[in-house]
């Protein structure tokens, strides 16, 4: 096993300083907060989301869904539906020209169920009609004859030999493993051992904009417009399902009204159905889910059951962890191979643990499938890991922050997978700075004494780390295009999508900084697979880190060309040519200059290449599936959250009064965008911690609406939130940036649970910490 990392190109902050001939403080855009160029149109409602692009000629597809959690399909009778005025077609599995298969890593999921349904809400047929009403009537008129099968709803039940089989191969979709050191020896060395079981629930993404796609037959090909996190992945699936070659499929990524991982998984599914309907009817067809369908049939965060045993010595050093992880994947594996591996790899938290035995299982049940969701397996495992840390600290009589600091990963240490961390490891600094901002020591003492009526207060901490880019060592790269127009403006192309996070704005800032031109000169094109190189998905907090580095690569190539050209035009040595404020000049005589627009024209006139393709290949990772050891991720973002809570002991209400959230982001390309992501992730984490839970009755979701699925409102998030940005640059990326979008969510729930334990002395190991649950747990007393 080799340990040297392969780095494709040395980039990072030093490289950029040298290349641009500037100190970081001289950067005009990178590192500075700007007013978002898309803010006005968003606020004014001018942004065109997918469903805003409907035109008169577009037909509607509506989906016939399973009414049973587990049943054989005997027959699908469509005749009556076809009689309805306006209904154009009813599409079932047998009409799929290509493969009826949309499993992500494991081919276990049909686009349209043919032989069997495995959850309530599973798609069986698509009714296409000239208008929505006819489509709705058509859906009601399709008769599906079922042969109901016994169903299994609980992952522990599903693991029993006598359980109904969701899939032929059995109910274990996959397993994961880490074997490092000798756990028996590790626990013998421990002075204290803590062992607990943790439960986490299913969370819904709750984006305002439901999934939507419009497909247009065009020439001998097809164009699909949709809210997606990965236009090229959509293209791959549409190609698989329709049998069209990828070159004949054009996918446009419209701005999304929230995505959070949900649209990563759902994009290909909805787009494939719309494309199929458009091809069969030869008409443009829109499929727009309603909110109930999203609740019932779109992927959710995996519920988890985690048995966690950990040990530490008297002087506060972790010696071993032994962890069993069960992630319920529901009816289909979807992203589980990646989610479960990510959880496994991060299972020890951001700490040095010499001995580890970790076993993960992803288990099928007859419920809606689980999948991608901000944090991607890490919030569940950190909920367990970080409460374990607090309990160990308590048993040892060490302050929880201090105990963590004695164990945190640092440069030169190894992760639980034995990965040597060589650079950009900011856990220690992040935790210290966040603790300082929160006035941790003082509050930890003072709040213990707080009591007003039935109300008590506490403060809690949790850390986390999160590998950036793909899991399981899957090769990852990104690409972008920078085109210089003859008037000196820039056309920028990438297929990183617009989810509200602003990645593309970050890319544009990088391009403008490198060329030293005003940001307004960089025009960001709509992500389009027919015009842009493949930037790969907008997930894994990779949109800025990988996509932005590809943008930098292209911009640097153009910069070098322009310097060469300017040298020729100004009759000035290349090393003395400066690009500044949309001009090129000679450093020896600044009056010897040329405007950027002039430079652009000359680029064409003199036969210089005006457009560049940028590419970034993420440093290779590898791992041994037999031991789980290896290089799991090229780099990690490190996070610490501290929250102050108030608990009403009579009602069980938990209120987050203040929150401090910090992350080592490598380099903040835009502190404002980072703060937005951290605040949003924190709010979503508060929902996960306190009120959100998809509830079932016999496999049927009983709260598929915002009346009973409780997301936080502005009144449920703390008034005081402080975001702390730590920069430990990464040498492989543009300016040293890492990712941040998922970060703050991960340690939010355990920080709240730890704060509740500090306030009340009672630990809740079962998410969410609803009023009712906390109330009864407090009555039950300490356990």
């Amino acid at each position: 096993m080799t340990e040297t990392r392969e780095v494709t190109a040395e980039r990072g902050p030093f490289f950029f300083k040298r290349e641009l001939g500037k100190e970081e403080g001289e950067y005009k855009l990178v590192g500075r907060e700007i007013e978002r160029p898309d803010a006005f149109s968003k606020i004014m409602g001018l942004t065109k989301f997918t469903a805003d692009r409907l035109t008169e000629d577009v037909c509607f597809g509506k989906i016939v869904r399973s009414k049973y959690p587990h049943a054989l399909i005997k027959r699908v009778i469509v005749d009556e539906a076809l009689q309805i005025k306006g209904v154009l077609a009813v599409i079932t599995a047998k009409d799929v020209p290509g493969e009826n298969q949309i499993g992500y890593a494991i081919p276990d999921q049909p686009l349209l169920a043919d032989k069997k349904v495995r959850y309530i809400g599973e798609p069986i047929a698509i009714v296409v009609a000239e208008n929505e009403y006819a489509a709705e009537k058509g859906v009601e008129a399709v008769k599906v004859e079922y042969d109901p099968l016994p169903a299994v709803f609980d992952p522990l039940e599903a693991l029993k030999p006598e359980a109904p089989k969701v899939h032929e191969k059995g109910n274990v979709a996959l397993t994961t493993i880490i074997r490092k050191g000798d756990v028996e020896k590790g626990f013998k060395e421990a002075d204290v051992v803590v062992e607990n079981i943790y439960y986490t629930q299913r969370q819904e993404h709750a984006y305002l904009e439901p999934e939507a796609a419009i497909a247009y037959p065009e020439g001998d090909g097809i164009r699909v417009v949709l809210c997606t996190q990965s236009p090229f992945l959509v293209r791959e699936f549409v190609s698989r399902v329709t049998g069209y070659s990828q070159s004949k499929i054009k996918v446009i990524g419209a701005p999304a009204g929230g995505a959070f991982g949900g649209k990563d998984d759902m994009g290909p599914m909805v787009a494939s159905k719309a494309a199929l309907a458009a091809i069969i009817t030869k008409k443009p067809v829109a499929i727009i889910l309603d909110k109930e369908e999203t609740f019932v049939a779109s992927n959710k965060r995996h519920p988890a059951i985690i048995r966690y045993k950990s040990g530490a010595t008297k002087d506060g050093k972790l010696t071993a962890v032994e962890i069993e992880i069960i992630y319920e994947t529901g009816a289909y594996a979807n992203r589980s191979p990646f989610v479960l591996w990510r959880a496994t790899v991060h299972s020890a938290g951001p700490y040095v643990v010499p001995n580890a035995k970790v076993d993960g299982k992803s288990v099928y049940t007859n419920k809606v499938f689980s999948g991608s969701f901000r944090g991607f397996g890490d919030p569940q495992i950190h909920f367990a890991a970080e409460q374990q840390m607090d309990e160990l600290a308590e048993k040892l009589g060490i302050d929880p922050v201090e105990f963590r600091l004695r164990n945190v990963l640092k440069e030169g240490t190894r992760t639980v997978c034995n990965q040597l961390l060589e650079e950009s490891v900011g856990m220690e600094e992040t935790l210290k700075k966040v603790a300082e901002a929160a006035n941790w020591k003082k509050k930890r003492e003072e709040l213990k004494k707080y009591r007003k009526g039935s109300k008590v207060r506490g403060i809690g901490v949790a850390c986390a780390y999160h590998g950036i880019s793909t899991s399981r060592g899957v090769p990852d790269w990104s690409a972008a295009a920078v085109l210089l127009n003859e008037d000196g403006t820039i056309t920028y192309r990438s297929t990183i999508t617009r989810l509200g996070q602003g990645s593309l704005i970050g890319h544009a800032k990088i391009v403008a900084e490198i060329l030293d031109i005003p940001l307004e000169w960089v025009h960001i094109e709509e992500p389009d697979t027919s015009a842009s190189p493949n930037a790969r998905p907008t997930h894994g907090s990779r949109g800025l880190m990988t996509g932005g580095t590809a943008a930098a690569d292209a911009a640097l190539k153009l910069r070098r060309t322009l310097i060469k050209l300017a040298s020729e035009l100004l009759n000035c040595d290349e090393k003395n040519v400066k690009l500044e404020n949309g001009k090129a000049f000679c450093a020896l005589d600044p009056s010897n200059k040329i405007e950027f627009s002039e430079l652009a024209k000359e680029t064409y006139q003199r036969g210089y290449q005006p457009a560049y393709y940028g590419f970034y290949f993420v440093p290779r990772r590898y791992f041994d599936p037999e031991t789980g050891l290896g290089v799991a991720y090229c780099v990690y973002t490190y996070i610490a959250n501290i929250v102050e809570v108030e608990v009403d002991k009579e009602t069980g209400e938990v209120k987050v009064l203040e929150a401090y959230t910090g992350a080592d982001v490598g380099k903040a390309i835009d502190p404002g965008l980072i703060e937005g992501q951290m605040q949003g992730a924190l709010a979503q984490g508060i929902g996960y911690a306190i009120s959100e839970e998809v509830a079932f009755n016999d496999g049927k979701i009983i709260n598929p609406n915002y009346t009973d699925y409780i997301i936080p409102t502005v009144k449920d998030v703390p008034r005081k939130v402080k975001v702390v940005i730590i920069e430990k640059p990464y040498s492989s990326t543009a300016f040293g940036a890492k990712g941040v979008a998922e970060a703050a969510l991960i340690p939010t729930a355990p920080a709240i649970a730890n704060a509740v334990a500090h306030a009340t002395g009672v630990r809740v190991r079962n998410l969410p910490l609803t009023k009712e649950k906390v109330c009864f747990k407090l009555k039950e007393g300490k356990k």
């Binding site: 509830a695 709260n703 409102t713 009712e772």
Partner: protein, 290 residues
């Protein structure tokens, strides 16, 4: 979720016109703010062919004091109640209930009449009106009738209203202004949510409970008065012990169910906690609003 089916929309300007439309069309449904009705239509529970919108009728939009009553038109929005000078000054227990009802958008559309006529066990305006012993003025084609609010609800989604009748006005006796009122609500989050339990308490007390009225929502098929608790406390000395003993009775008076919002056990426990809190708050005179 269903699409909103096509329907014929009527916008009468007088009560008379509205009633005659309801008389004429058996399939017509009254709509005010639509904040209860539209979600029900989208759930497929109603498919009205005709809708009579009463929210533009001036005669249904007012708050005024007259003849010993504070009178509220049924189509008055929650926002207007919240901003009503009369209600804020005379008896603000209703204002307290409306303050956290839904969100600003919902309060701008939703009406007090709609809240009552929808007959949700969790309707937040019902407990205050029960303790205020309000009367309802109901209008039909053959004239009007008055009934105490306690007789209005028959069960979840059911009232004594006939199909072609509308709720016209809510009358609150002005003399209740001398009592102190408190409304409290427990939801699954701070605001914009349905009650797990809500309660209104109206009392007059110095060293003893001269008078006390208690009502609760979301803990029985209809909003209820806790009469036994009231009669236990009435005339008793104001002590922590008595309040605790008295509110223990509430637990027997409520008949909650277990649903996705909360279990029977939790609702029962919380009924006591919230009634007790409301009493204590009223005694302290800690009634802030706006």
């Amino acid at each position: 979720m269903k699409l909103i089916p096509p329907f014929t929309y009527y916008k009468p300007e007088t009560i008379e016109e509205a009633i005659s439309l309801l008389d004429e069309f058996k399939e017509a449904k009254v709509i005010a703010g639509g904040t209860d009705l539209i979600p029900l239509i989208r759930d497929g529970k109603y498919t009205p062919q005709k809708m009579v919108d009463i929210s533009f009728i001036d005669e249904l939009n007012f708050v005024r004091e007259e003849g010993g009553y504070i009178k509220i038109g049924a189509a008055t929005t929650h926002s207007d109640i919240l901003n009503s000078k009369i209600l804020n000054e005379k008896t603000n227990v209703l204002v307290q209930a409306v303050k956290n009802l839904g969100s600003p958008q919902i309060r701008n559309l939703g009406t007090i009449g709609g809240n009552l006529c929808n007959a949700s066990p969790a309707a937040d305006t019902a407990p205050p009106l029960l303790v205020l012993e309000a009367e309802l003025l109901i209008q039909g084609s053959k004239g009007e009738r008055r009934i105490p609010v306690k007789d209005f609800f028959l069960g979840p989604g059911k009232t004594i209203l006939k199909r072609n009748e509308i709720l016209r006005e809510i009358h609150i006796p002005s003399e209740v202004g001398k009592m102190k009122g408190v409304f409290l609500k427990l939801g699954r989050r701070e605001a914009h949510t349905l009650s797990i339990v809500c309660t209104a308490v109206l009392l007059k007390a110095d060293t003893e409970f001269e008078d006390i009225r208690i009502a609760l929502g979301a803990v029985a098929p209809i909003p209820i008065r806790a009469k036994e608790t009231e009669s236990y406390l009435r005339g008793k000395e104001v002590t922590e012990k008595k309040i605790d003993e008295g509110t223990e009775i509430v637990k027997k008076e409520v008949k909650p169910i277990t649903d996705v919002r909360g279990t029977k056990e939790y609702r029962t426990e919380m009924s006591k906690v919230f009634v007790k809190r409301a009493i204590n708050k009223a005694l302290k005179g800690e009634v802030e609003c706006k």
